[in-house]
Amino acid sequence: MKQFVPKKAATVLSIFIFIVAVGASAFRNDAPVKQITFSTINRDSVESVQAFEIVYKTLMSPRCMNCHPAGDVPLQGDDSHLHAMGPKRGLDGKGVYAMKCSNCHQETNIAGLHMPPGNPEWHLPPAAMKMVFQGKSAHELAKQLVDKKQNGNKDIKKLIEHADDGLVLAGWDPGEGRTLPPVTHAEFKKAWITWLQSGAYAPKK
């Protein structure tokens, strides 16, 4: 008689059913949470990493990166050159001596090409928490952004809120003659939240 399922296939199938059954029965205890999240991790890591692509290209655009320099002098312009006259970060990120940010940067942008852009909070990250973007790979930046020791002790909730920080928003109101970040603030925020809520996975590179 011709078998409905070939012998080999039947063996494989029964082993599979056995594994599923063992796995499923284990759900009755609380131990196998790991197994459930295992499959979720795979799915979400893809979504997370995809969302981070948008986050990364935004944060590495001059409007964001210029105030997250690798050194202690902010960057300027669409080519991210060192800020003219070399103002320094200072301990609080607000400049030093006669060279404090707010000596030139006012509460609002000043009209005209190359005039100082403004915001009431204008500053660099402080010396103790430099939050460097410049020169970071997507992998490094993703790791850094969620590391409380390097992000100003922000948990996921605080990180999500940070998308609406006044100085973050200022990136989308940069003053005359400066290009905008590559996506709108709404698109950035959506990608930011997706990235964080789906596990904040770092791309491989």
Binding site: A84, M85, G86, P87, K88, V96, Y97, A98, M99, K100, S102, N103, C104, Q106, E107, I110, G112, H114, M115, P116
Partner: protein
């Protein structure tokens, strides 16, 4: 136009001005204090530096409305008898060439010496890099700031 009272060098000046007017315009043209200079008008040279509540702001890009209710000090008001340690040092070393940049230089140096009474050369660079001198008096400026620091120590006067 709006009525704005500016307190400049401890004196009140009731002025009529557009709130958007640069503070430099109000200081020079409305209050008539001509010691503060216009160099570039775009926050690049430092000739227009005045103190606003003690900070060395660039008055060419500071709106007059920002100064309302605050204390403005210009080069004329840094001391009553030109006796601020920075002014004395500037005279002793004979720093200026044409002089155009120096009210701004002195106002910036005064903030440096208040915050760092014993500045190193690096501190001087960090504080003064935004004050351009077309005549190139930078070496004398550096020397005078060190001299002012000594004077400040001796006399106990602070900017």
């Amino acid at each position: 136009m709006a009525k704005i009272t500016l307190n400049i060098n401890k004196k009140d000046y009731p002025l009529e001005a557009d709130p958007q007017m640069p503070l430099l315009w109000a200081i020079r043209d409305l209050a008539g204090l001509k010691g503060t200079k216009y160099g570039c008008g775009v926050a690049q040279c430092g000739a227009c530096v005045v103190h606003l509540d003690g900070e060395a702001v660039r008055s060419c890009v500071t709106k007059v409305s920002r100064a309302a209710g605050k204390k403005v000090v210009t080069i004329e008001g840094l001391s009553e008898t030109n006796s601020h340690p920075v002014q004395k040092a500037w005279q002793e070393i004979d720093v200026p060439q044409c002089g155009y940049c120096h009210s701004g230089q002195i106002m910036s140096a005064a903030v440096l010496l208040r915050e760092k009474p014993n500045p190193t050369d690096q501190d001087i660079d960090d504080a003064m890099a935004g004050n351009i001198c077309r005549c190139g008096t930078y070496l004398r400026i550096r020397e005078a700031i060190h001299t002012a620091a000594e004077l400040q120590k001796k006399t106990g006067t602070k900017g």
